[in-house]
Subunit: 229 residues, 2 copies
Amino acid sequence: MKSNVKKAVVLLSGGLDSTTVLAMAGAEGFLCYCLSFRYGQRQEVELARAQRIARHFEAKQHLVLRVDLDAIGGSALTSDIAVPKDQPRQSEDDIPSTYVPARNIIFLAHALSWAEVLGATDIFLGINAIDYSGYPDCRPEFLEAFAHMAKLGTKAGALGKELRFHAPLQHLSKREIILRGMELGVDYSMTHSCYDPVGELACGHCDACLLRLQGFREAGLEDPAGYVG
Amino acid sequence: MKSNVKKAVVLLSGGLDSTTVLAMAGAEGFLCYCLSFRYGQRQEVELARAQRIARHFEAKQHLVLRVDLDAIGGSALTSDIAVPKDQPRQSEDDIPSTYVPARNIIFLAHALSWAEVLGATDIFLGINAIDYSGYPDCRPEFLEAFAHMAKLGTKAGALGKELRFHAPLQHLSKREIILRGMELGVDYSMTHSCYDPVGELACGHCDACLLRLQGFREAGLEDPAGYVG
């Protein structure tokens, strides 16, 4: 029966985290509507990966929306600012130059809009509090505040529907995420994490690569992604 | 001194409300950065008006961003659903078909992103609780929740900067908005409110036209906008 199917909007970047989240949402029985963004990111290669991944996991639909973050600028991911390499974070309060101002807020706002149109009340995203690399919009208290705002600011919320934001990786380490994904049969060679790729190859030195490589190392596995050199 | 100038991002649709807000922000001494959106709206004529208005009020910059709301659909403003005409709201809980799912959330998220890049901590918008036409994302409690979420989800907030969301029309009637604007020298012939215009002319029968016409009537003034017929 169609009315028994639970629909979910899944934010899918094509990276390791969001791909694992998609596998988890599917394993929970959700009919998945994947949402990706073209926002002038250096790593636009991730969109082709997202498309392949959405197909692989039999998503009901995959929508790629254009967002003009490059017109706003202010981040190493969308402008001429250099992506930092081999630089461990200085402190908890250190927010890296790859932070894109309000990006997750913009992405979640679109997910919310699509969920309303689809009649979905579940939104999945791959934010992570442990490996969050200093991004304020990956913290649990941020997501709670977003959910509260969404309840007040949407028709669905005004009509009393409960909107649920699932961040199942929130408290997992990269190692745990990888092990969970492997259990669900995720093929991580399909995923792309690097902020500054050369063609399809990952640089191996940006924050995203360093965290990913460390995760595989700690899981006792080899990262199947292709790296430069 | 440049450091003494207070910068503000002003959401500007080119309508009566947001134009009044721009005049108010200017009168408060803010250096205004106007932000408009091309989102596949029927009333795209409003963007040309917004441009003219931003110039008139000597905005420092006017950015028009593309947002893919038409790919998401679900509203009479962005899809084939008909715009309701001469239909007074049935009840407080009645949300009209011109509601665009999560639109204000998406717009505010972009404003927040730009404010972070500009180093601005003030955002102005023309939402209104009295004439709000049943849109949940125009309620004061929504804006408060958005501000709280923004504080937690941005670098500016994480660094302890206070982000201020100004909705100076929140508790004004349309009549009061118009009278306030007239005091500040707003020329309302420049503004466009209609959801379903014919060329540059307003239809006179959609919710937006009805509220506007009533406001001018109650203010004892004639609406200088051009209407069909």
